[in-house]
């Protein structure tokens, strides 16, 4: 079977044969960037379609079913519509910040994709602080949201942005702490090492109750970080019409929409990497035949399958639950999730020191 590492090393060798080392590096950068961009856009298109279908089926309707087979081309049509629309800026906005904000948000969410390991050997940047980098970078996005809300010169936008700021700053903590639990167990921040440490079983299975708890906390906190319902206070369409992107139209709005799905992708990737073994197959200790069958399924299917599972969870929440109020939201974080996460981390540290995990 062809390994992704073979492909990457083949590209590297071919390019080195043709170009000088500096140019090779540049060419590889461009290639990797384009590849990730294309990959992510394909993912987002699938996610948007999936979201609409999931929402439709849960709400007793079909969802899009007119453009293409089962409405599969609806998203493409919508992207074209957004591209063709005028990106309109009202008179009273701060033009520079208003136009900059969507791109800042987009850039930040792309940065968070850098240390992700897509498949064996297919990783852009295997840094030793990978997980830390992702959680650090993904919280910069809130600056873009605040910029959008402030520069729009609209009261709804401002309230939405302020809510979003309060929310992301708070939930960043418990998301970080729940990842830290796994980091404490495997002893490395590198994405590659975390995946390798799960070769004999995913952390969610071999980490006892504390890691399961961390997983639950992480899913809750990351839903909040993505501004998805039931934590979609920044948009809260029944209160603030559309929150921080009320004034955006055309592709400006399109980019915010895109970013929401990229953020979901990042969150799902981190969750599947840290808790569900990344691209590693599902193994049961002792059942060699079963494990062999599992090994036969390609690694990218495993990875994408886990991503889609997490994404489905997040969508399922969105189309079932009512929204929280802002004070309840902050109370949930500061009074429940954060203290429990800290206690959990202490327990995890204790287990790790005693060597009780598998």
């Amino acid at each position: 079977m062809i390994q992704f590492s073979d492909i990457t090393s083949w590209i590297h060798e071919t390019l080195s044969g043709l170009l000088s080392p500096g140019l090779t590096f540049l060419a590889e950068l461009v290639l990797a960037g384009v590849a990730v961009l294309a990959m992510v856009l394909v993912f987002v298109v699938i996610f948007v379609y999936m979201e609409r279908k999931v929402a439709g089926f849960m709400q007793l309707r079909y969802g899009p079913n007119r453009v293409g087979i089962w409405g599969s081309l609806q998203v493409i049509a919508d992207v074209f519509k957004l591209l063709l629309k005028e990106s309109f800026a009202p008179d009273s906005v701060d033009k520079l910040l208003f136009n900059l904000a969507p791109y800042l948000v987009l850039a930040v969410s792309f940065m968070a994709l850098a240390p992700i390991s897509w498949a064996p050997g297919l990783q852009m940047w295997d840094t030793n602080i990978g997980v830390l980098f992702i959680s650090a970078v993904s919280s910069i996005g809130v600056i873009g949201i605040l910029m959008a809300g402030w520069s729009s010169n609209n009261k709804y936008s401002l309230i939405g942005a302020m809510r979003s700021g309060a929310q992301i700053v708070s939930y960043e903590l418990s998301a970080g702490l729940s990842i830290l639990a796994v980091v404490a167990m495997c002893g490395s921040l590198s994405v590659h090492d975390i995946i390798q440490s799960q070769a004999d079983g995913w952390w969610i299975f071999k980490g006892h109750l504390p890691i399961i708890f961390s997983f639950v906390v992480y899913v809750i906190a990351s839903t909040a970080e993505c501004n998805r319902a039931p934590f979609d206070l920044a948009e809260a369409e029944s209160e603030l019409t559309a929150g921080y992107h009320t004034e955006y139209s055309g592709m400006g709005f399109g980019i915010f929409y895109l970013t929401e799905y990229i953020n979901m992708l990042v969150v799902a990737m981190v969750a599947s990497t840290v808790f569900l073994g990344g691209w590693l197959p599902f193994h049961i200790y002792g059942f060699e035949a079963f494990n062999h069958v599992m090994n036969f399924i390609p690694s990218w299917i495993w990875f994408f399958g886990k991503i889609f599972f997490i994404i489905f969870l997040i969508m399922w929440f969105r189309w079932t639950f009512p929204r929280l109020r802002i004070d309840q939201l902050l109370k949930l974080e500061w009074k429940y999730l954060l203290p429990l996460s800290i206690v959990n981390l202490v327990i995890v540290a204790f287990i790790t020191i005693m060597g009780w995990h598998f």
Binding site: V54, F57, M58, R61, W316, F317
Partner: protein, 160 residues
């Protein structure tokens, strides 16, 4: 200890309440054939669409097979209409025995103004008009909404 227990019980109850909701939406998600209720309108217009007999679509002046209607041009429907949808234009004709008589010339019906309240049908002493259950009433031109309901050449049905 008791408070901790009660606290944990509360948390468990909270999760259970959330889970029961999730289970319902999951049920909807996994049983699309049974649960989806969307009407696929343009496709089902000849098959499964259900328009009740009494559905108030538009007013029609019933004509029988001899192209005769029952309207005597008494204008009660015109008076009963709350928003001036109906205009009865009558003509004076001379009958064979020399008497002047009012007959219907044009029964003008402005569909664009009609609210389908059926008061005209209620007011008609001859039962000349009824509601038809047609529902695809849109036209491209607003003037097409103003209809003349009596068919050309039709005449009053003689009382037998």
């Amino acid at each position: 200890m008791k408070t901790v227990l009660r606290y944990l019980q509360e948390v468990a109850l909270a999760f259970r309440s959330l889970w029961s909701g999730l289970r319902l939406t999951l049920y909807f998600f996994t049983h699309p054939r049974k649960e989806i209720i969307t009407e696929q309108y343009p496709e089902n217009r000849t098959t499964s669409i259900n328009i009740p007999e009494r559905f108030a679509g538009e007013v029609v002046l019933t004509h029988d097979e001899n192209n005769e209607h029952k309207c005597t041009a008494c204008t009660l429907c015109e008076m009963a209409c709350p928003n001036g949808t109906i205009k009865i234009i009558s003509a004076q004709v001379e009958t064979e025995d020399g008497k002047k008589k009012k007959v219907l010339d044009k029964w003008v019906y402005n569909l664009g103004m009609c609210t389908f309240c059926a008061q005209c049908i209620d007011a008609c002493p001859q039962n000349a008009i009824t509601m038809k259950n047609s529902f695809e009433l849109s036209v491209y031109n607003r003037s097409d909404l103003i209809k003349t309901l009596n068919k050309p050449g039709s005449k009053l049905k003689e009382k037998s």
